[in-house]
Structure formats: C-alpha cells, structure tokens
Subunit: 200 residues, 2 copies
DNA sequence: TTATAAAAACTGACTGGATAGTTTATATAA
DNA sequence: TTATATAAACTATCCAGTCAGTTTTTATAA
C-alpha cells in the first residue's frame, strides 16, 4: 500500500550498504569479503541486502559506479571554478593532501576494480570510460595552458597527461603498500615541482 | 607415475607448478584461482601438488619468493656489467621494451601480491624488502651519476628514485588496464626523455 | 478514534554447490 | 622388494543466495 520508508531513507540505506562494502572490499578485496562481512558492517540483515542489490557482484559494480559518478562530479565542479590551467593542475595535485583514510580505501578498492576488470566486461567498460575521461580532462587543461601561454609550447598534452596520471597512480600504489601519509605528502610536493617545471 | 626421480627433476616440477600458478594467478587473481585450476595448467595431479607445496597459500608465497629472487639476481648481474650510471638507467628504462606477455603476467601477479599483503605479514615482509631493495638500487645509481658528473648536482637521489619507480609502476598499472603494447612502448620512451632531462 | 487489512521491509536459519585439502589404491623405478 | 609418485575419490568447510515467517508502517472502514 504505502512504502514503509521513504525513497530518501531507502537511498540512504543503499548508500550505507555501499559504505560497508567499501570498508570490506578495501580491507580484504572482493573475493575474500563475504556478504556476511558486509552485513556485519551494516545495520541490516543478510536478507535485506538482497532487497537492495541482486548479488555480491552487483554491490561491487554499484560501488564502482557510485564512486565514479561522485568523484567526477566533484572534480568537475571544482575545476570549473578555477580559471588558470596552472592553478587547476596545482589544485589537482594537491587534492590528495592532506592524506586521509577514506582516500586510501577508495584507492585500494579502485585497484580491486582494476584487477577484477579482466573478469567482467561491465567493470572493464566503466573503468576504461572513467580512465579516458580523467585523462581527457588533464589533457584539456594542459592544452588550455599551452594556448594561454602558461605552459611550454613544445609539450605534448596527450603524453604529458599520461605521465602525470601514471605518476599519480604509481605514487598511490606505493602509498598503499609501503609509504605512510607523511611520505605521500612529500612525494606529492615533489611531483608538483617536477611536473610544473616540466610544463612551464 | 614415476617414483624416485632425481632432485633436479623434482625442482623442475616445482618450477613447472610455479609456472602454472603464475598463469592462473595472473589471469584470475589469487582467490578466484582454485588449486584445480593450477593442476589443470600443470602436468600433475592434485595430490601431487601437495607433495610439493603445503597449501594454495604456500604456492602463492613461493611464487613471490621465486620471482623476487630471480628478478633481482638478473637485474644485479646486468647492472654490474654496465659502467656508466646514465647507461644503467637507460638500460633499466628499456628493460620493459619490447613488451612481452610474460612481463605482463609478472606485473599482474605482482599487484596481486601487493593486494594480498594486507592479509599476510609474510607477503608484506617480502614485498617491502623487495621494494626497498629496488628503490635503493635506483637511488645508488643516481647518487653515482651525480658524483660522476653525469647528473645534476641539485637532484635528490631518494626523491628522484621514488619518482622514477612510481612512474614505472603507474605506467605498468595503466598498461594492465588500458594500454596496449605499442602505447606502453611510446610511454616508456617518453619516460626516458623526461626522466633523463630531469636528471641531466 | 480505533480496529483491521494490506503492503513493504526485514530477518536469519537453511541449502546447494564449490573447493581446499586428505586419503587411498595403484604403478613403477631402483 | 620397496619407497614414493601419482590419480582419483573423498571429506569438511565455507559462503552466496533463498525463503518462510515476522515486524513495521500506512490506509481505510466503522
């Protein structure tokens, strides 16, 4: 007759489940995390989970889509507010400072997505689209910067964007495995000086 | 079907099993690979596998140790034969050219090791040691290069080594997910020019 | 206002299938 | 003969997904 909870409350629970999933997947990876683990991190029962998602894989893919959507939206919003390409890049580089645990979880689960993508065309599609979008944004910023005279004319936007992003992801990979927050921040500052020296 | 085989033959079988494991783990990851999968890729039976290894995890960790040992040995051997630090770095950068499938598998399973390391102190230990060793080698080469006057004096060997290695791993991560062999090779050449320009 | 009906949402014990690891019977080189 | 490598069958465990029963909320008739 009438829904017991409102649409917003429902969406909230869905998000809470995705949050619990992020916690699990970022700690133990996709396969090692059981649905019972996710249930333990949420305030719901196992049965309820299946009111919100079709399967464990559905939770995983939904988490990927949610992360992709929100992070791109936030990024675009902020970049639109910055005028200078140089400042945009600086902002982006410093996005990862200060280090926080949530970012670490996001990055950990993101690599989990990548590893899983060889099994799932759906995941692969979302990830390659996201990859190309991000790379496209960096490339455009660099191209703008060249046009505006802020960056060197002989820089290839495509290649520079690829380097920038590889450096970013490599740094994060190392942070997950070896570095602590302080070291990450030092290294990010080093990227800033080096990349900007390379571009300007 | 052949009792009393020599030690060499035994070691050969062990290596063949590690090879089968590399195949599986690089394709599907640790958890998604079953022992039966590994058996299928080897010429042995399941029961036999347990004559060589204690468990699936033991296979995984043995693969990590084997890879670590052989790759570091090979690297050190070659680097010892090169005099100039600049040439050493150039050689290293081009180690990944030409692209080949075996390297891709190695890199894929290496990331699998990294992801697994949060669960296993043993894996973590081997990986951090390996990481520090590799980074130490790069750092030493750069320091030598500075002393020999081949590199700029104001370069910080520690930081430069960190950047170099982050770039390397980031690039490979992207190659696993998005790029093809041709793109990897182009990007590696780009690293060469940029890194060497940064150092000299 | 209140009793009842109906729908939605939740629960957790259970099941079927998968698979890590073990045992056993057989084959064979030494 | 005998030690052991092997294959195949076996066992125990785990876990994704199900479902029958319960609780909560809303609607509405009296």
């Amino acid at each position: 007759m009438a829904p017991r909870i409102s649409e917003e409350a429902k969406e909230e629970k869905r998000l809470a489940l995705l949050d619990a999933a992020l916690e699990c997947f970022s700690q133990k990876g996709y396969y090692a995390s059981s649905v019972d683990d996710i249930v333990r991190y949420s305030n719901l029962s196992k049965g309820s989970v299946y009111n919100y998602f079709d399967s464990k894989e559905d939770i995983f893919i939904s988490l990927l889509q949610h992360q992709t959507k929100t992070s791109l939206e936030r990024l675009n919003k902020v970049l639109r507010e910055i005028e200078s390409p140089l400042e945009k890049l600086k902002y982006w580089i410093n996005l990862d400072i200060p280090f926080n645990l949530h970012k670490k979880k996001m990055m950990r689960v993101h690599i989990e997505f990548w590893m899983y993508s060889s099994d799932s065309p759906d995941v692969k599609k979302v990830l390659t689209d996201r990859f190309d979008t991000v790379l496209g944004i960096v490339k455009d910023i660099i191209a703008e910067g060249i046009e505006a005279g802020e960056f060197k004319k002989d820089v290839d936007p495509e290649k520079a964007a690829g380097m920038f992003w590889a450096l970013h992801d490599g740094l994060w990979l190392h942070t997950l495995v070896r570095f602590d927050e302080k070291q990450l921040e030092e290294r990010i500052k080093e990227i800033e000086t080096t990349m900007l020296a390379y571009l300007t």
